[in-house]
């Protein structure tokens, strides 16, 4: 499957699940506390913080990102980059953990056809 089709399939899948497709924001973030856009969530940060009211409760995007902390690894490993694209889905006060995991699992196994025994989920237990 070509990258072009992967992007399309991802966005379509979440669109069918009621997500608004939002275009990638600039690598130069509006947020003054960050130098460069590191992740898909950055443009939604005001929504997460409740500073802005979203016009949608669910969004999906393909976000261009730059991370400089892995620069020494680039090329030495099979998986590190400075520039990369992040496929993401977001919920603003709508669905939570269970749905999020199910969405991801179904897309990977049914949508992209990855054998389930190849997939592992690591969960984090968080106590106060």
């Amino acid at each position: 499957m070509k990258a072009k089709d992967v992007r399309k399939k991802f966005l379509q899948y979440f669109q069918e699940k009621g997500h608004q497709i939002v275009p990638s924001s600039s690598l130069v973030p509006k947020d003054p506390t960050v130098l460069l856009t590191l992740a898909g969530m950055l443009q939604f940060k005001p929504l997460f913080l409740g500073l802005e009211k979203p016009t949608y409760n669910r969004a999906t995007s393909v976000q261009k990102c730059i991370r400089m902390n892995d620069i020494e690894n680039v090329g030495n490993t099979s998986r590190h980059h400075t520039f990369f694209e992040m496929l993401g889905n977001f919920s603003f006060g709508d669905y939570f953990k269970k749905d999020a995991i199910v969405f991801a699992w179904v897309l990977l196994s049914n949508g992209f056809g990855i054998a389930q025994e190849k997939l592992w989920i690591a969960v984090f237990f968080f106590f106060f």
Binding site: M41, V62, G75, R79, H81, M86, W120, A122
Partner: protein, 762 residues
């Protein structure tokens, strides 16, 4: 399912902001990719498990103190790396083997002659090419800080790795084209800005290649001298950085590539030493301000600034910083450095003692800091009086108002893409930086310059008003991007022509600027140009000085020209006519200052060009006469060796000819020998010249003899030794010189003896 530790799984988008626990989905490539350790599981650093999708359950906001505060609603944020999922779906051995990278790496392979270029460099180049193309498309320009530095570093690394794999020509634009072609459909900004992206890359790569070539040469020398220790001394790395602008991280990278280490500790020590030097060399403004910033300023009120209207005033001393030699007053007329304009200087009088103010700084909570020669006489609460250095202030104002006229002229001539990027205004001159991609053409420069002068001639009023930011925007005022303006902004308006938000001081009418001269236009980084200008009295002085310099230079050249002409005549050349040349007359210099007075920059340029042309004309003539003289000399030398073809001796079957001539420079001797060589097809020619300062030999051995082992370099040494000199040369021809002219014949005899005794191979 696996449970992982805490630092691995608590995710935040930065030091502060929304965050929460997360869940990660991994792909398992199977045991054969694993490290084999018993605790190998998702999250292990080895190649078995690839994290593909991170799901974050956002419940908290981390504030500046590091505390986690629960959010009003629960949110989901997920991210999956496109490159990773593509790799899995394409069953590719690495992210770099997907269609996102492969075409790029293939292109790079075509650019090098290496059969198997190192994969690491190919990957780095492909990765960085994507990053830099997108960064520029989003408006980042290479610079030395912030995002600009990230971009610059990526470009440099890519170019460097290109060098490693033998890509000789600039190549980034070609890769960038591929990135644009591949991704333009998904990211239309790439196509929209494509020509801009390529121009920026071309400029930055070009600049860096020059630095790189110089640095690489120097590093080669260092590798040689450090080949025992395999460690580059930090002092040398610092020299590269300091003197040649070669970045330290590049030195480290290239050193690593060659199996060397760099002594970072010593490098840091040198850096610190240099900083120390800068500190003790004088008042470093930044250090001064940061020292003051650490003081308690809470009890100080903002200083009242009266300097827009007044040139002198009284005031009360509010605070003294003895270690920084800084005084704060309740009100002042001294303009604090800001908005590109330098700080005012002048005198503060305490009692009957005048104390010099060498600089005025501001920018902390509206408090203005006077840097003075001596703080000893100041007492808090006491009254002082102060006086500006008015001449300096006025000169600064002419330059400041000129930058406003210049900006308007640039927008007029080049278009709306011109945006101010910085400025520096002093009593002597100004700099104005602005966004624009190309060098200005001579026509554009002339137009901009004459437009500004035109506005000076019109003697327009410079109006100052205060208004709200909103209103100012409606007026169409231009302002620096990231400057922060308060509710009440100061508008500097020159007719309808220029409207800017500016806190600086200005002339009342543009006529006071006198004259504007554009000194230079250059690029300070990709996409940012710098114009330097000078105005008023300073401009006039500069122009007169320049005219005089032309006249002096021309006079020197004419002296040389006459001298050569006389020499040419002596050698039998054509007669020289004094009417052929003329000096720069006083009236021509007057023309220059008259053009300044008339504010006629177009004529001024013409006059100066004319003077430069005159110099060029004489230079051309000089070159011509020099050539003529050389021809005449070769002719005379040719006469001195006349009949040589019948005067060769036979030494062990070799034709040998030697002759001592009168005075000739070495290139003439060589010319004569070159003319003799075809006549004496096989043999050795030695010519000597008795020059005023020394004796000179030129020796030539025919090709057939060099093949049998005669070497000019060796033979010429024998000659040189006798006259007490040194020699050397190319295979065909060698020359030597020595001080002892009396021994020239002895040297030739010695050479003949050598040829008589030698076997050819010695």
């Amino acid at each position: 399912m696996v449970k992982l530790g805490e630092d691995n799984n608590f995710w935040a988008a930065g030091p502060t902001g929304p965050c929460g626990p997360c869940s990660e989905i991994y792909y398992d490539f199977g045991e054969k990719f694993g490290c084999g350790k018993p605790d190998c599981k998702p999250g292990c650093d080895c190649e078995r498990f690839l994290e593909i999708w991170n799901l974050v359950f956002i419940e908290f906001n981390r504030n500046e103190k590091g505390e986690l505060l629960p959010l009003p609603s629960k949110n989901i944020d997920t991210g999956m790396g496109l490159e990773r999922i593509c790799r899995i779906l394409e069953q590719a051995p690495s992210n770099f083997d997907t269609d996102l990278f492969k075409p790029l790496m293939d292109r790079v392979k075509h650019l090098t002659h290496m059969k198997e270029p190192p994969i690491l460099s190919l990957r780095i180049i492909a990765d960085h090419a994507r990053a830099v193309t997108h960064l520029i498309a989003d408006g980042v320009l290479p610079s030395n800080e912030g995002r600009g530095y990230v971009l610059r570093r990526l470009i440099r690394r890519a170019v460097l790795h290109g060098k490693f794999i033998g890509v000789e020509k600039p190549f980034l634009t070609e890769l960038s084209k591929e990135v644009i072609h591949q991704n333009g459909e998904v990211y239309p900004e790439l196509i929209e800005h494509s020509s801009y992206i390529l121009k920026v890359l071309e400029a930055e790569e070009g600049n860096f290649r020059t630095t790189l070539d110089k640095g690489l040469d120097l590093l080669q020398v260092l590798f040689q001298s450090s080949r025992q220790s395999k460690k580059i001394p930090g002092e040398e790395a610092f020299k590269l950085h300091d003197t040649f602008g070669f970045p330290f991280d590049l030195t480290v990278e290239i050193a690593k590539e060659n199996g060397f280490e760099v002594d970072k500790e010593a490098f840091d020590r040198e850096m610190e030493k240099q900083r120390e030097k800068a500190r003790s060399a004088g008042i470093n403004k930044e250090d001064l301000l940061s020292a003051i910033r650490k003081m308690d300023l809470t009890k100080l009120k903002p200083t009242k600034f009266l300097g827009y209207e007044k040139m002198e005033t009284d005031a009360k001393v509010a605070e003294i910083f003895p270690f920084q030699q800084v005084v704060v007053l309740d009100q002042t007329i001294f303009y604090p450095e800001g908005g590109g304009q330098v700080g005012d200087t002048g005198i503060i009088t305490v009692g009957d003692k005048g104390i010099r103010v060498t600089n005025t700084l501001g920018a902390i909570d509206g408090i203005i800091f006077h840097v003075v020669d001596d703080v000893e006489d100041f007492k808090i609460g006491e009254r002082v009086s102060m006086r500006l250095d008015i001449a300096k202030r006025k000169a600064t104002e002419t330059h400041h108002t000129a930058t406003h006229l210049l900006q308007a002229a640039l927008v007029h001539v080049l278009g709306k893409q011109v945006k101010q990027a910085g400025s520096m205004v002093s009593p002597q001159r100004f700099r104005f930086d602005f966004t624009y991609l190309e060098a200005l053409t001579p026509e554009q420069i002339e137009k901009v310059e004459s437009l500004v002068n035109h506005k000076i001639k019109e003697d327009l009023e410079v109006e100052i008003s205060y208004t709200s930011l909103e209103e100012a925007k409606q007026l169409g005022a231009t302002a620096l991007f990231d400057e922060k303006y308060k509710d009440r902004v100061r508008v500097v308006r020159i007719n309808e022509y220029s409207i800017e938000l500016c806190g600086g001081t200005h002339v009342k009418h543009t006529g006071e600027i006198g004259f504007f001269r554009l000194i230079s236009d250059s690029a300070i980084s990709a996409g940012i140009r710098r114009i330097e200008g000078v105005c008023g009295q300073e401009a006039k002085i500069q122009v007169i000085y320049e005219g005089k310099k032309y006249r002096d230079e021309l006079n020197e050249l004419l002296k040389k020209y006459r001298f050569l002409q006389v020499e040419k005549e002596k050698l039998g050349g054509s007669k020289f006519l004094e009417t052929d040349i003329f000096e720069i007359a006083g009236t021509e210099l007057d023309n220059l200052s008259r053009a300044v007075d008339r504010k006629d920059s177009v004529s001024l340029r013409k006059f100066l060009q004319h003077l430069a042309g005159r110099l060029e004309w004489v230079n051309d003539r000089i070159k011509k006469v020099e050539k003529e003289i050389e021809g005449l000399k070769v002719g005379r030398g040719w006469e001195e060796v006349a009949g040589f073809e019948n005067q060769t001796e036979d030494i062990k079957g070799i034709s040998f000819y030697a002759k001592v001539l009168t005075s000739f420079p070495s290139h003439v001797l060589k010319d004569i020998v070159d003319k003799m060589r075809p006549v004496i097809k096989s043999g050795i020619i030695v010519l000597a010249a008795l020059n005023p300062d020394k004796a000179l030999f030129v020796i030539s051995v025919s090709d057939d003899l060099t093949k049998t082992g005669f070497h000019e370099g060796h033979l010429v040494k024998i000659l040189a030794e006798v006259v007490g000199g040194r020699g050397g040369g190319r295979p065909a021809l060698a020359e030597a010189g020595g001080l002892d002219k009396t021994k020239v014949n002895e040297a030739i005899t010695k050479l003949k003896e050598h040829l008589n005794n030698a076997n050819p191979l010695s």
